[in-house]
Symmetry: C2
Subunit: 282 residues, 2 copies
């Protein structure tokens, strides 16, 4: 059954948006600047790509999108915290994101640091108190995976190396290592976490883990291809050229899809999201 990615996202967006709106304190609750800063980049929503992968991960193993709502919120909170801190003056120093002022421009630098911190704590609090259909042992493993993905050996370590690489040429291996940690780890954790909350078994989780890492790296390459105008030293476009980078992303996508070849058609949304992530033109 062919899956229309835009329909898929549109249908499931309210699931994650309404859950996030309940989890994050209202902007009117004191400290209002802190809660406003926490919400600034979270609403209105972007594509919610990571939550969609969590939903598709749950469906791939026979569950429903609803099963994965707690993980969908957690990965969006982690992703949002990382953007808020990445934009800070001492990091990438960005004044605009998605056409709006970044959090530190709108709420000041202290509130941006604190809002990121609070989003990260909330990512784990909301997951630990969510009603789930699996047992608490599976929930503990989901929390562990999602905290590992956010840590110094994954997301934060990748960001540290990315900042270090600014201005210096990087080898293909170095670039791919940054992509694997900074981008792919959380994408993998989104898919695996969603599947875990739907009751996936270990062999399903292993296949989805390999799939998620490869799709995540290919997703970042696709980003680099779209940004080709920018002269980023930590980009495979710089190392391989646009055609070489595109070819590598396509190769990773095919390898990834082969990992889940034995999954039934309930994995079609996951396959479609992966293709969309790699082949998108914006």
């Amino acid at each position: 059954m062919p899956v229309d990615v835009k329909d898929y996202i549109r249908d499931r967006l309210p699931l994650v948006d309404s859950a996030l709106d309940k989890i994050v304190p209202p902007a009117e609750e004191p400290p209002t600047a802190l809660h406003g800063a926490m919400r600034h980049l979270l609403f209105p929503s972007g594509k919610r790509f990571r939550p969609m992968l969590a939903f598709a991960g749950a469906e791939a193993v026979g569950g429903t999108a609803s099963d994965a709502v707690p993980v969908a919120c957690t990965v969006e909170l982690i992703h949002t915290y990382s953007l808020v801190h990445d934009d800070l003056p001492c990091m990438d120093d960005d004044a605009l994101r998605r056409g709006r002022p970044t959090v530190h421009i709108e709420y000041g630098e202290a509130n941006a640091v604190l809002a990121g911190d609070a989003l990260l704590a909330l990512a784990y609090e909301s997951l630990a108190e969510a009603p789930v259909k699996v047992g608490p042992d599976a929930l503990v493993l989901a929390i562990r995976d999602l905290a590992h993905a956010a840590g110094s050996r994954q997301l934060v370590g990748g960001q540290a190396d990315d900042l270090d690489a600014a201005g210096a040429a990087s080898s293909i291996e170095q670039v791919q290592s940054v992509h694997a940690r900074k981008t792919a780890a959380l994408i993998r954790a989104s898919i695996v976490g969603g599947a875990r909350l739907a009751g996936a078994d270990d062999s399903q989780l292993d296949a989805l883990s390999a799939f998620g890492l490869e799709v995540g790296i290919a997703f970042q390459i696709a980003d680099d291809v779209l940004d080709e105008g920018e002269d980023d030293p930590c980009s495979l476009v710089t190392a391989l050229g646009v055609d070489g980078a595109r070819e590598r992303a396509e190769g990773l996508l095919e390898t990834a899809l082969a990992r889940i070849a034995s999954f039934s058609e309930t994995a079609d949304p996951l396959r479609a999201l992966a293709r969309f992530a790699v082949q998108r033109t914006q």
Copy 2:
């Protein structure tokens, strides 16, 4: 049995120090600046007051300090992350802590932000993967409590209000609300978390929760009394004077001790730590 607090701390320090040393990646592991920054304020250790409260919480309900090691590490990681971020130029802008350069002075501002972020993620990762003697349901509740204590309604919200209060006079209620969130919430979570991992029942947890909040506020007042030279608007010394503040701390301590009056002598270390925290002279 009278408890010598200094002996108690000295005997149990290696438990938490060796566990933390295993949990936090070595400074030689790349990214070395990030891992060095994560370790900078963690080693050599301070008093490890919060880990000691976790140990004493476990012992108070008939468990051992070993039961509480995972929570002891988590609360020290959360406390350390919050100090690293509090010291940043956009927050309290401190160049020295415990007589050494702060993390952003030693490793740069970006690494200080990232190191704090990674310590926070590691706080939950290490707890979720720790071997514990209680079931996974109790572990999930401990994670929830410790993430709540770190969030915008507790620690981070208290810090945001504390920064806002800088320069402006605060009422006694405002000061106490900041203390309850910024300081007491994590102290309470240390005690309750330690007791949870030792198998405490709900009535024990309720008593320890009330005890922890009161001791935590009294601890912060004692800090303010020790800092009386500083003209901090968010201090009960400013609002009540030194004698008034000291009296309030003593009153809170007595109320707190009454909450756990029915606990056996296994709670004596907890009682002694609480007295020490409030009556210390340095």
